[in-house]
Amino acid sequence: MRRFIDLHLHPSIKDLDQVERMIVKSSELGYRLVGIPLLPSVTQDEISLLQKICKDAKIDFVSRVNFTPKTPGELLHDLRRFRQRFEVVSVTCTSKRVARQAAKDRRVDLLSFPVTDIHKRFFDRAEAELASKALSGLEIEMAPLLSLSGYSRIRLLSRLRREVAIAKRFNVPVVISSGATNEYLMRSPHDYAALATLFDMPLPYALRALSEDPLAIVERNREKLSPDYVAPGIRVVRRKTGV
């Protein structure tokens, strides 16, 4: 049975009631794992609290950080400082230079692009080629598709159609996430898969973007963050004791 994942649930962290309601709703809708973006300065207590809420709702919690750097240098600085603290790192690329740097850096898990300014969506073939080599994924948030209407939604759909085709051609994993800021913007995985057909994503491919592809990212990072990890394919199996 598929484990559905929403890597970007976006409640207001300060409003714990809302956080709890949205996590419970995710569980009801059939998700088994949710990612919530946190501030880089988040404390371990706050993470523990979120983990507890998720555990009570029988759902797995993934810590995630979103960076929106203005320059490639700022991105590298943020990655050096915070990569080890979060299970998933997403970069919102607002300039082409940042997009290229993020795509070629193996520490970046997800590339996301502004939805309101179509000219700032830099996911082209060059970007896809870099992302493919660095195992980064393209994140598609569904909340804007629900909240936009008219010409802006048409333009977004057209752009997403192009990006999905490029991602498929270069084997870049696509991750569909809700990006929901409240319960009314949350939908079940099958509803998101149906919505993804609007930008020509076949149903099986969309379901994979809601389950296997994000799960692979989370599992890879959890392995990397475990104390037994040494390098890709190498891990500590036993430690010498009593010396």
Binding site: L146, S149, E183, Y184, R187, L198
Partner: protein, 102 residues
């Protein structure tokens, strides 16, 4: 024509009647797929429970994804913010009622 029944749950602070739900579904289908797409759906309302905010709609089996995507895109009914979730899809009314506990 083979049919598919979809059980819907409307998440709203107010009770919603069947006519309003169908208006919202038709509006969403027309917005996303146009009149040509809407003509292929054979959409109709089968049942509605305004107290529990449940509804059952019926469509052609070839148009399930069109209807599902349209339903997922609904964010407002009667100018009130809502979310409409598809609880299940089935080929018979009896099965859909069983599946969605209606």
């Amino acid at each position: 024509m083979r049919r598919r029944y979809l059980a819907l749950k409307v998440v709203s602070e107010q009770p919603i009647n069947g006519g309003a739900v169908m208006d919202a579904v038709w509006k969403a289908v027309l917005q996303l797929f146009g009149e040509y797409g809407a003509s292929q759906t054979s959409l109709s309302l089968i049942d509605c429970n305004p107290q529990k905010n449940y509804a059952i709609v019926c469509c052609s089996h070839t148009a399930v994804e069109i209807v599902r995507a349209s339903i997922a895109s609904i964010t407002e009914i009667n100018e009130k913010t809502v979310a409409v979730h598809v609880l299940g899809v089935s080929g018979t009314l009896r099965a859909i009622r069983k599946k969605a506990f209606l």
